[in-house]
């Protein structure tokens, strides 16, 4: 695990010690004010280790998004928190209780699954009340809770229908409702919107955001859609290969990605990368990309740079401007290879130091392929990564 790379915004005592399995008693206090706390979690399927030594603290009422490419262990982590699979090592605490070995129903969680997982032979009403009936709640209480959720999610007209008679969006609302009726503090959402079309996804995303603002529950939300992640999250945990690469506010992750993977994963179209070397000169450090020299005196180094080291220089398409060059910006010229009009935006493809470069500009642009354009960016917006470690400098 890249210990230095992880920016815990709720630092724990002894957080630096990631290798130690036995934790000193003092560390137990760490999760006390957390809603969900995952400590040194190991999960393996047979010999295949999916998650190793993962730590995560989530505060009450927080909206945490787990973001990462397919197969990185997001669902596995969520299922472990829900108690749906056996963990190899570590602890899981929810609301100050150690629930590592508790049954899913006793953990105080509600869960929404990617495939909805509605009970096909039960009406919407029965789907919503199934858990409450198992718990043996009195009839009046069940009715009241189901009614409240039905009002909240506008399911009133659908209560008698079977899941097969609902649209995708309605099914997803029922699935969310089934989590809500449980009156729990922690909700786990596993890619709840990934089966829906783009329009419905946007609508439901807004609904989920509103719902969270209204209820104030802790939310752990898995997605590999970065728009969902950026818009919904209080904090995002970017995962790769079962390891949290970076944990932080969406803005931080966007502006100051800790490594090249996170930088490339967030943003669409993705960040432009160029291989180069770091040189120090009279005017401070600079990145040398082939025959182009980008001065980095305005760049905020996270750690003191090694001179003459190989680096990867990254700049986001939306941070590159066309036309007038503001004070202190780096400017260069290039030939336009391709223009992609996307409606609101246009993506212009050109090149810098022999490597392709995309520029995101407004939808009104008149640029044509073959033209020579002058573009510029603020080096303060760039990201410089050490080639050897991929970490941001």
């Amino acid at each position: 695990m890249i210990a230095e790379a992880t920016t815990h915004s709720t630092p724990r005592p002894g957080a630096g010690d990631h290798s130690g399995k036995a934790r000193p008693g003092g560390a137990m206090a760490a999760g006390e004010d957390s809603s969900v706390s995952v400590r040194d979690l190991d999960i393996a399927f047979g010999a295949h280790k999916v998650i190793a030594g993962l730590d995560l603290e989530i505060s009450p009422g927080e909206f945490l998004v787990l973001l990462g490419p397919s197969g990185c262990g997001k669902s596995t982590l969520l299922n472990a928190i829900a108690g749906l699979l056996d963990i190899s090592d570590g602890e899981i605490w929810i609301d100050g209780k150690n629930v590592t070995w508790a049954e899913p129903k006793d953990r105080g969680i509600g869960m929404v699954f990617q495939s909805y997982a509605l009970y096909p032979r039960m009406s919407v009403e029965k789907n919503l009340s199934f858990g409450l009936r198992i718990a043996g709640l009195p009839k009046s209480e069940i009715e009241a809770r189901v009614k409240r959720v039905a009002d909240l999610l506008q399911l009133d007209g659908l209560m008698r229908r079977r899941p097969s008679e609902l649209s995708g969006g309605q099914r997803q609302r029922v699935a969310i409702g089934r989590a809500l009726v449980r009156n729990v503090d922690v909700f786990l959402f596993d890619e709840p919107l990934s089966n829906l079309d783009a329009k419905l996804r946007n609508e439901l995303r807004v609904e989920i955001k509103k719902l969270h603002q209204r209820l104030g529950n802790t939310m752990i939300y898995v997605t590999h859609d970065q728009v969902e992640a950026m818009t919904l999250a209080d904090r995002i945990a970017v995962m790769r290969g079962g390891v949290i690469q970076q944990l932080g506010a969406p803005k931080d992750i966007y502006r100051r990605p800790v490594n090249r993977f996170v930088a490339g994963f967030i943003g669409s179209p993705g960040m432009n990368f160029f291989d180069g070397a770091l040189r120090s000169g009279a005017d401070g450090p600079a990145a040398e990309l082939g025959d182009v020299r980008v001065p980095l005196s305005r760049y905020d180094f996270a750690r003191p740079p090694k001179a003459d080291g190989a680096v990867v220089f990254g700049i986001r398409p939306e941070h590159i401007g066309l036309g007038e060059v503001p004070e202190g910006h780096f400017a260069c010229e290039g030939t336009v290879d391709l223009v992609e009009a996307m409606g609101a935006d246009t993506i212009v493809w050109t090149s810098l130091a022999g490597a392709p470069l995309t520029i995101r500009t407004d939808g009104e642009t008149e640029i044509r392929p073959g033209e020579t354009i002058r573009f510029s960016f603020d080096p303060a917006n760039a990201c410089v990564f050490d080639t050897a470690t991929d970490l941001r400098l």
Partner: protein, 328 residues
């Protein structure tokens, strides 16, 4: 769900399965223009090729091979004994005489008793109903446990069970007779029911496990979060989705158990001998003249239950098998 998916793969009504399969290959070869036309006008009559004639010829011969004996049986059962002695076996009966049927049902001699094979019929009912229900219940629960509850050693258990399905059961007969004698159950109704459940378990577990393995695990997880326990999830979530496979299992077990001879003979005891054993006694009773009409009637009566089951549920059977096969 898979059941819907398979139903769309079913041949259109009125087209035999064989004709359909070769037909769809033709469809793929014809240009789409032709296909459009045939879609609006219905199926285009196909030219008779040598291959097609051969195919129909083969189907006709196969059908005759299975149907002729049945026809002869029905005809013979409706004749009187003098008629049988003198006429050809294919000749139509002079008058439709039901005496043989009545005698077979209510007064044919099975050994010393002469109460017809209705005794055997009711014995078979009494054996088949609880055996079918119990073996399906056991197989369904076991299949569900093996596919959703990740028990340690589940795969080993399943492998052993499968092995059991492929071993010839004759080798178990004697040990089981000894075991049942020791606990005092030998030659009772309970004994034969238990035997049928045991021998039905491997195949029942197999088909239910394959069916449940095809259901999304998220459904099970959702029920777990909702607080469902082992039996609650089985009863309220899994069983209501299992109709197609339940029908397959019921058909398999009803026909197997009804048609069983050796287990009934060995384990049921004189009081509970099933219809198949009684039929054998009727046919093989040695004194006097062989009453072919009575034997035929008794045989048809014995075969009636499985036949009825197939006729009523054949469509479901094919669908359920397909669902199970695709899932596996």
């Amino acid at each position: 769900m898979s059941i819907d998916a398979t139903s769309s793969r079913e041949p259109p009504k009125g087209a035999s399965a064989l004709a359909f399969r070769s037909g769809s290959a033709d469809d793929r070869a014809t240009p789409s223009r032709h296909r459009e036309r045939s879609a609006t006008r219905g199926r285009k009559p196909r030219r008779l090729t040598i291959g097609r004639i051969g195919l129909y010829g083969f189907v006709a011969v196969a059908a005759a091979f299975f149907l002729l004996p049945a026809v002869v049986m029905v005809l013979t059962s409706l004749k009187t004994m003098p008629e049988i002695r003198e006429g050809s076996i294919f000749a139509l009966p002079e008058s439709f005489d039901l005496t043989a049927w009545i005698k077979a049902w209510s007064s044919a001699c099975t050994g010393l008793d002469c109460e017809g094979i209705r005794v055997g019929f009711w014995n078979s009912v009494v054996i088949t109903v609880p055996s079918t229900i119990a073996s399906i219940a056991a197989g369904a629960i076991l299949g569900y446990a093996l596919s959703f509850w990740r028990v340690k050693g589940a795969d080993v258990l399943f492998a052993i069970l499968l092995l059991g399905a492929f071993l010839p059961y004759q080798i178990f007969l004697y040990p089981m007779v000894r075991a049942f004698s020791m606990v005092g159950l030998y030659n009772t109704l309970a004994c034969i029911v238990i035997v049928h459940v045991i021998f039905g378990l491997p195949i029942m577990t197999l088909i239910f496990r394959n069916f449940y393995a095809g259901l999304p695990v998220e459904l099970f997880n959702a029920a777990r979060v909702d607080g469902g326990g082992f039996f609650r999830i089985f009863w309220n979530v899994m069983l209501p989705m299992s109709t197609p496979i339940l029908i397959v299992a019921a058909i398999l077990q009803i026909t197997n158990i009804w048609n069983d001879f050796i287990l009934g003979l060995v384990f049921a005891g004189r009081e509970n001998l099933p219809m198949t054993v009684q039929l054998n006694n009727v046919v093989n009773s040695t004194y006097g003249e062989r009453e072919y009409n009575l034997n035929m009637a008794a045989t048809i009566l014995t075969a009636a239950v499985p036949l009825l089951v197939y006729f009523v549920s054949g469509r479901w059977f094919v669908r359920g098998i397909a669902a199970g096969a695709v899932k596996g």
